[in-house]
């Protein structure tokens, strides 16, 4: 069971829904939003809903890698949900899919 966006609850899962692409122009806002979403509360899984993202560039990847590392440092994991084909290819190419779960909208591994 997921919490509402950005609000950690006892389910130990917190979800952040990306409003669109994660690129140079949105990097700061995404970073800040993820920071807010993961502040406080007890959670062990951060779900990043990527269905609205058609593009993730180098700076966007930096944000995702940073979040995965921070989550790892506190013993938590990151799940990347429903990435579009182009983004999924990038996640595989950059081997991010070896450090975070990549699942479809139904939660099945892709």
């Amino acid at each position: 069971m997921n919490s509402t966006a950005g609000t950690p609850i006892a389910s130990k899962s917190v979800t952040w829904v990306s409003p669109g692409d994660i690129t140079t122009s949105t990097e700061s806002a995404v970073s800040a939003a993820l920071e807010r979403a993961t502040q406080g509360g007890h959670w062990d899984t951060l779900e990043i809903d990527l269905r609205a993202a058609r593009l993730v560039d180098s700076k966007g990847l930096n944000v995702i890698v940073s979040v995965i590392r921070k989550a790892g440092e506190r013993g938590c994991r990151v799940r990347l949900v429903a990435p579009q084909t182009s983004v999924r290819r990038i996640l595989a190419f950059t081997r991010i899919d070896r450090h975070a779960e990549v699942v479809d909208a139904g939660g099945r591994p892709v």
């Binding site: 560039d57 990847l61 182009s86 290819r89 950059t94 081997r95 070896r98």
Partner: protein, 608 residues
């Protein structure tokens, strides 16, 4: 006469019947040949159109294959760091050099600074001890003051008054000393606690920063080492992606080069048309020969279709495998784009070193702020003790003078001596304290100077780092973006190539009905041939066609019909386009059948 007439009549009837039969046969052949000519004439443009359509798709696919190869090579250069990666890495290393050297210098000074802090702590502890001893020394002052009052009570009022003034000064001095010692003791305790905290904090922070920087430096050194060794190694390696992209391009090129069905079928059909045009009389053997030639052409089309579709399927699979390989790059450490690749590591190092430098700068700021009051404390305490020492000496001197003048032989003399002794002790303690203060001040100033230098250098490095950092980060991101773009281009190229291959497949599939049409014409010619067995004259005419064939396969078919031995061309493969026809040139269907000449070497045409 009658018998002759009687004999001639059946002969005439026979001749008439033969003539009628020949006439019917001629008409029938004329119909069959005409229909065949018309169908073939209509079919040839269709074959050409299909061929053009197919070759257009293959040329597009060939272009896509070339683009794929280019993109794969670009990706390999970018992913392995050959293109841009090395420059960006070394530029970043240069950027990191200043701050890392600064942090190193700070960490190297750690032992000396911690030693100075220990000295400071020892000095403040010693001063607190002086304070205790001072309090013990001054503890007797109230009694001295009371005794002065008692001893002077018997003196005349004016003298008594002077001793009362003296005791007043002693009490005021004692209050002053109490206050000063109390205040300074509080400050000393604070300073002592601050120094202890600073020492522990500095030791911890220096250790943490040193660990971070050492870890980062090791990772950077490792990455640069890996980059250099990988660059050398990868240039010698035949990477899978490289092989696959070359294979795809070569296979497409091979199909385009070998896709000769149009020329083969066209010429075979042209030869059939020419033969049909030349054949005015009904010829069963000739019809069979042309039927077999058309069937051979139909088989050529079918073989072309099967081979091309098989090759297309193979290229389709290869393209899929290539896309998979490009997304994994299993045999290559993707240092520009991978999660643990060099670019990501350098980006993180930039952030970490920036944070570490800021932390050291902040630490030095805080340390400077903490040390600043220490200097003031030293000054204040020193002044208070000097004043105390001087005043005590003056009081002692005053008491001695008064007791010599007015109280000789009384207890006042002893009291004055005791006061002088206290003054001497206070003076000694003041001197000790002054020495402690000098040492404390020196250590504090040395530390302040070092930390001020750290602060100045830290700010300078931060300023330089921040102004160059953006450029370095932009360069690293640009390399990774280029790698991602190149990777995405491969995906797009594979998609386009596969779409083009599907179109080429559909175009090739349209050969099926054309082949069926050739077989249909051949079937009608076979039917005519079966109804009209060949005679000697016809067999010779058919044999004479041998010289008109330009292709080995045509001659082979001809040999089957004529029953002659066919000697295959020794050359395993000779493209049709390059083959010269036998002498005379290939028959034109608008002209009469050429005269047979010596057999040509021709060509043994293999489609695939």
């Amino acid at each position: 006469m009658t018998s002759g007439i009687t004999l001639l009549t059946p002969l005439r009837r026979l001749a008439s019947a033969v003539s009628q039969r020949r006439s019917r046969a001629r008409h029938a052949w004329s119909d069959v040949a005409q229909a065949a000519r018309e169908e073939l004439t209509a079919l040839l443009p269709e074959v050409e159109r299909t061929f053009l359509q197919t070759t257009t798709h293959f040329e597009q696919a060939s272009n896509q294959g070339q683009a794929l190869l280019t993109n794969c090579e670009s990706l390999l250069r970018l992913a392995s760091g050959v293109e841009g990666g090395s420059d960006s890495a070394h530029r970043t290393l240069q950027l990191l050099q200043g701050p890392l050297a600064f942090i190193d210098r700070c960490v190297q000074q750690q032992d000396r600074l911690l030693g100075l802090l220990v000295q400071c702590e020892q000095r403040t502890a010693a001063m607190l001890d002086v304070r205790t001893r001072m309090q013990a020394t001054l503890a007797t002052l109230p009694y001295v003051s009371v005794l002065f009052k008692i001893e002077s009570a018997a003196l005349p009022p004016d003298l008594r008054e002077s001793f009362l003034t003296l005791t007043g000064e002693i009490e005021r001095m004692r209050d002053l000393v109490d206050q000063s010692i109390t205040d300074n003791a509080r400050l000393l305790n604070q300073a002592h606690a601050t120094l202890r905290h600073l020492r522990s904090h500095l030791a911890e922070e220096f250790r943490r920063v040193a660990t971070t920087v050492t870890d980062r430096r090791q990772r950077v050194d490792q990455a640069v080492h890996t980059l250099d060794s990988d660059l050398a190694r990868n240039s010698q390696r035949d990477l899978r992606l490289h092989r696959q992209s070359h294979t795809i391009r070569d296979q497409i090129g091979a199909i385009v080069g070998k896709l000769q069905f149009h020329d083969i079928v066209h010429q075979k059909c042209e030869h059939v048309l020419a033969a049909l045009d030349a054949s005015r009389d009904p010829e069963g053997a000739g019809a069979r020969l042309q039927a077999l030639q058309l069937e051979a052409a139909a088989r050529d089309l079918a073989a072309a279709r099967t081979a091309a579709l098989g090759a297309l399927e193979q290229i389709h699979c290869l393209a899929g495998e290539l896309e998979h390989s490009s997304s994994k790059l299993d045999d290559l450490q993707c240092m520009t784009a991978a999660f643990d690749g060099m670019v990501q590591m350098l980006l993180e190092t930039i952030t970490n070193v920036r944070t570490a430098t800021t932390e050291v700068a902040t630490l030095t700021d805080r340390t400077c702020e903490a040390l600043q009051p220490m200097d003031g404390l030293a000054q204040g305490l020193s002044s208070a003790l000097t004043e105390l020492s001087i005043n005590m000496r003056l009081i002692a001197l005053n008491a001695q003078i008064r007791s010599v003048l007015d109280g000789a032989g009384t207890g006042l003399e002893q009291l004055s001596a005791r006061t002088a002794q206290i003054s001497t002790e206070v003076n000694d303690l003041s001197m000790t304290n002054a020495e402690n203060l000098v040492q404390l001040g020196a250590a504090v100033r040395e530390m302040s100077a070092t930390f001020n230098e750290f602060r100045a250098h830290g700010r300078q490095h931060l300023q330089e780092f921040d102004s160059a950092r953006a450029g370095s980060e932009t360069s690293l991101h640009a390399i990774r973006d280029q790698t991602l773009t190149s990777f995405q281009h491969i995906s797009s190229s594979v998609d386009s190539l596969q779409a083009e291959l599907r179109s080429a497949g559909a175009a090739i599939d349209s050969l099926t009905p054309l082949g069926a049409q050739l077989e249909s014409i051949a079937a009608r010619l076979h039917a005519f041939a079966e109804a009209h067995p060949p005679d000697q004259q016809e067999a010779e005419a058919v044999a004479a066609l041998a010289g008109t064939y330009t292709m080995d396969s045509e001659r082979s078919v001809h040999a089957v019909v004529t029953g002659r031995t066919h000697v295959a061309n020794d050359e395993a493969t000779e493209l049709f386009a390059a083959a010269e026809p036998a002498d005379p040139p290939p028959p034109d269907r608008t002209t009469a059948a050429p005269v047979a000449t010596a057999p040509s070497l021709g060509a043994n045409v293999d489609l695939f």
